[in-house]
């Protein structure tokens, strides 16, 4: 558990994740208030990484659930391992007939089996999926529910129930309650509006592309071989490209990759050539590429001007 806001920032930093004070504030609040945290924003700004770093910086295991259309209870909560149950039944056939030997009638035999039901319907035969795993974990965990906007609205209702009480009821066994309440992070690419109920339950963080200073710090951390001034130019250039209304603006990962290609190219300045060489890394779409090429000179000028 983090002691203070500074603690959050420092430990994240030591894990290599640079974030704004705003982000650290909201993370701290979510932990203190015991609320799940919903992180929305464009692709590639570090939403998933936030959860990973949250786990790593506290030394907690990360349980990840990737959402997709059609995700349902069996893949999210738990599933019965029929095969294992059948196998056990086969193996114990002899034992079973032995314990039923004393039964006179069929109904008595059924009764006898019913009393032993718990042998075959116990936690042993449940395949726990991420949500159940997070709840029954012996140690506190960080639960990442990734891309929750890809799941169906019906699934959200299920999620809401689990996140409200942190318990799951399995009809045959009973209610399984959490040993430790997990720290929950949900991410969304905002491809659709999430249900009200779920949003109300969570604290909300909108993670946007970083500003040039922050991005420079990130680049410095990930690509320390490059001169700071050049890194700053890279950050400015990427910012200008993002402003260009592309179909797929470059993410943070892509700007890091570009910085790395500059290292490979042994570049110490941004020139038209180095920018052009870096384009395949930054812009992955022919229409976008054309747009950027059209204004290459202007892009370069503004990046150099700012630094």
């Amino acid at each position: 558990m983090f002691m203070s806001l500074q603690d959050v920032s420092e430990r994240f930093d030591s894990q290599g994740y640079i974030c704004s004070e705003d982000t650290a504030t909201v993370v701290y609040l979510a932990l203190r208030l015991g609320r799940p945290l919903l992180v929305e924003g464009p692709a590639g700004v570090g939403k998933t990484d936030l959860a990973k770093v949250l786990a790593a910086s506290q030394g907690l295991p990360l349980i990840r659930m990737q959402c997709y259309e059609g995700l349902d209870e069996t893949k999210a909560l738990y599933e019965w391992e029929y095969a294992k149950q059948l196998l056990y039944t086969q193996i114990l056939k002899d034992k079973i007939s032995e314990s039923l030997r004393s039964c006179e009638s069929l109904s008595e035999a059924v009764e006898r089996i019913a009393t032993e039901e718990s042998a075959f319907f116990s936690e042993r035969f449940i395949v726990p999926r991420p949500l159940l795993r997070a709840i029954r974990s012996e140690v506190p965990t960080v639960l990442l529910i990734d891309e929750v906007d890809k799941a169906d609205p019906e699934f959200e209702a299920l999620l809401l129930e689990v996140l409200s009480d942190f318990q799951i009821s399995v009809p045959e066994i009973g209610t399984l309650t959490a040993r430790h309440i997990p720290q929950v992070i949900l991410t969304s690419n905002n491809s659709r509006e999430l249900s009200d109920g779920l949003k109300r339950r969570c604290l909300y963080l909108y993670l946007d592309y970083p500003g040039p200073e922050e991005e420079t710090r990130i680049l410095k951390k990930k690509v320390p071989d490059l001169d700071e001034r050049l890194l700053r130019q890279v950050a400015e250039a990427v910012r200008s490209i993002r402003r260009m209304e592309l179909k797929k603006p470059p993410s943070i990962g892509e700007s890091i990759d570009w910085a790395r290609t500059l290292v490979l190219l042994n570049a110490n300045r941004l020139t038209l050539d180095t920018v052009r060489a870096g384009l395949p890394v930054l812009v992955k779409n022919p229409a976008d590429r054309e747009k950027v090429l059209k204004d290459l000179a202007g892009l370069l000028a503004s990046a150099q001007r700012e630094t």
């Binding site: 004070e21 504030t25 609040l29 029929y82």
Partner: protein, 460 residues
């Protein structure tokens, strides 16, 4: 501070941000963890607990700045007038004796200066009814009301009484004079502070109390009557509506009755259970998506209808097998490419202004249908829904409805959307009576509401 929070929540709700009591509680609890020392942290606390939609963030920021400016009113650090004037002890005693002479707020001013006032503004403002302000012109009125709350009107008279009493008690005139000076300065500053506070709080309340333009009205306003400002503000609404349609469509798909029992799939799935059919598989009914070809009249009369139609079609591209669109006046040009290369709004603009046809001509449906038949017939097939958006007014050119008939024979169906009132379809140069003979459906489509209803049906 909790009161401030509640008032602020009220303002946020007024501007359309939905906040539940539970979230307000979260916020209040969070205050204990984050503290009030830093404005940015306080802002982040409020945002994370109260604002859960990305679209509301801008609004929130604006209202936060308007409302919480008072966190920045500098504390009055000047010594109290009494201390300045001299033997504070004496005058304070006198003040106590002369209790009836000065009203409580004036007493506060004399003894402690201005420091106690700012925190009292909100209360005074609320007693004056500042929350109900509706027009900027009322600001002056409210300033007066707040002044009355503090009883400022009577202060001059009371001060006179106070000073004479002081003189009568033998306090030296010099001290009285400088006391008077200090008090007058502070009163002037207080008036300023009241005015500033009222103006800035009023702004926040005005925002909230503004009669909001209900989008419902815009939805039913005829296309021809929309101003460019309204069009811009509707574009976001169109995006939201498209999203809703998409969500509904996918819900419908999922809820549709499951298909027939699928033997092969069932057997395959249950191999691991030794063939016992523990899981039953059904044949999924795959819905075939429609192919759309849209011809949009972009002469000035039908401009807006076409704009929204294109916008909707492309926002919902994934609901259709393929959307190909064309614009025309008296010539036809395909604009599908723009939507592939540009973002929706930009593409719509290009289609309406820059598609490679002359926009200043007179609409000629006949030539257009002929051109389509000659050049683009391969675009359509038995699965296509062919949509024409236009008023059917042909400027007395050759109607060319035989071309439309030939086009229809190649399509699954032809739908005509007309932004003009049905009543006008028989007058003047309208050829609707001839064109409708070759259409499977003819619909009036005068406003966004009707257009949305139509697009909704298309996705069914």
């Amino acid at each position: 501070m909790k009161e401030h929070l509640l008032r602020f929540v009220n303002i946020l709700r007024g501007s359309g941000i939905r906040i539940t009591p539970e979230e307000v509680l979260d916020c209040a609890l969070g205050m204990e963890h984050v503290g009030l020392g830093s404005r940015s942290r306080f802002r982040r606390l409020l945002q994370a607990t109260l604002v859960k939609r990305a679209e509301d963030l801008e609004n929130f920021d604006r209202l936060f700045d308007l409302y919480f400016h008072s966190l920045e009113i500098p504390e009055e650090t000047l010594p109290s007038p009494l201390e300045e004037a001299g033997p504070a002890g004496e005058a304070a005693e006198l003040l106590a004796q002369l209790d009836g002479l000065v009203s409580p707020w004036l007493r506060e001013l004399i003894l402690h200066g201005l420091s106690g006032f700012p925190s009292a503004f909100p209360e005074a403002g609320s007693r004056a009814g500042l929350e109900n302000i509706r027009f900027p012109l009322q600001i002056a009125q409210f300033v007066q009301k707040i002044r009355r709350e503090f009883g400022i009107e009577g202060w001059r008279g009371e001060l006179q009484g106070f000073f004479s009493a002081l003189a009568a008690q033998g306090v030296e005139p010099g001290a009285v004079a400088s006391l008077e000076q200090g008090l007058l300065e502070r009163m002037g500053r207080l008036e300023e502070m009241i005015r500033e506070y009222t103006e800035r709080s009023a702004q926040a309340y005005l925002e909230r109390n503004k009669p909001r333009d209900p989008p419902a009205e815009l939805m039913e306003k005829g296309f021809g009557a929309l101003t460019s400002w309204e069009i811009r503000s509707m574009q976001q609404a169109v995006q939201d509506l498209a999203r809703k349609i998409r969500d509904e469509a996918s819900l419908r798909q999922r809820r549709s009755r499951k298909g027939r029992f699928d033997l092969k799939q069932t057997l395959r799935r249950n191999l691991r259970y030794g063939g016992i059919p523990l899981e039953v598989a059904f044949r999924k009914r795959r819905k075939s998506k429609a192919r759309i070809v849209a011809l949009c009249d972009v002469s000035s009369s039908v401009w807006n209808a076409s704009r929204f139609m294109l916008h909707l079609l492309y926002s919902l591209q994934d609901q259709f097998d393929k959307v190909r669109s064309f614009v025309f006046v008296d010539q036809l040009a395909e604009v599908t490419g723009f939507f592939e290369r540009q973002e929706v709004n930009e593409a719509v603009n290009t289609a309406l202004h820059n598609a490679g046809i002359s926009y200043n001509r007179y609409t000629d449906y006949g030539s257009v249908f002929k051109q389509f038949h000659e050049e683009f017939l391969d675009v359509v097939n038995r699965k296509t829904t062919f949509i024409v958006i236009g008023d059917g007014r042909n400027n007395f050119f050759h109607p060319g409805d035989d071309h439309l008939a030939r086009i229809r024979s190649r399509n699954r169906r032809v739908i005509w959307l007309n932004p003009e009132s049905r009543g006008f379809w028989r007058f003047g140069d309208s050829m609707m009576h001839r064109y409708s003979r070759h259409c499977d459906e003819v619909r009036e489509c005068r406003n966004l509401k009707q257009l949305i209803a139509f697009v909704n049906q298309l996705t069914l």
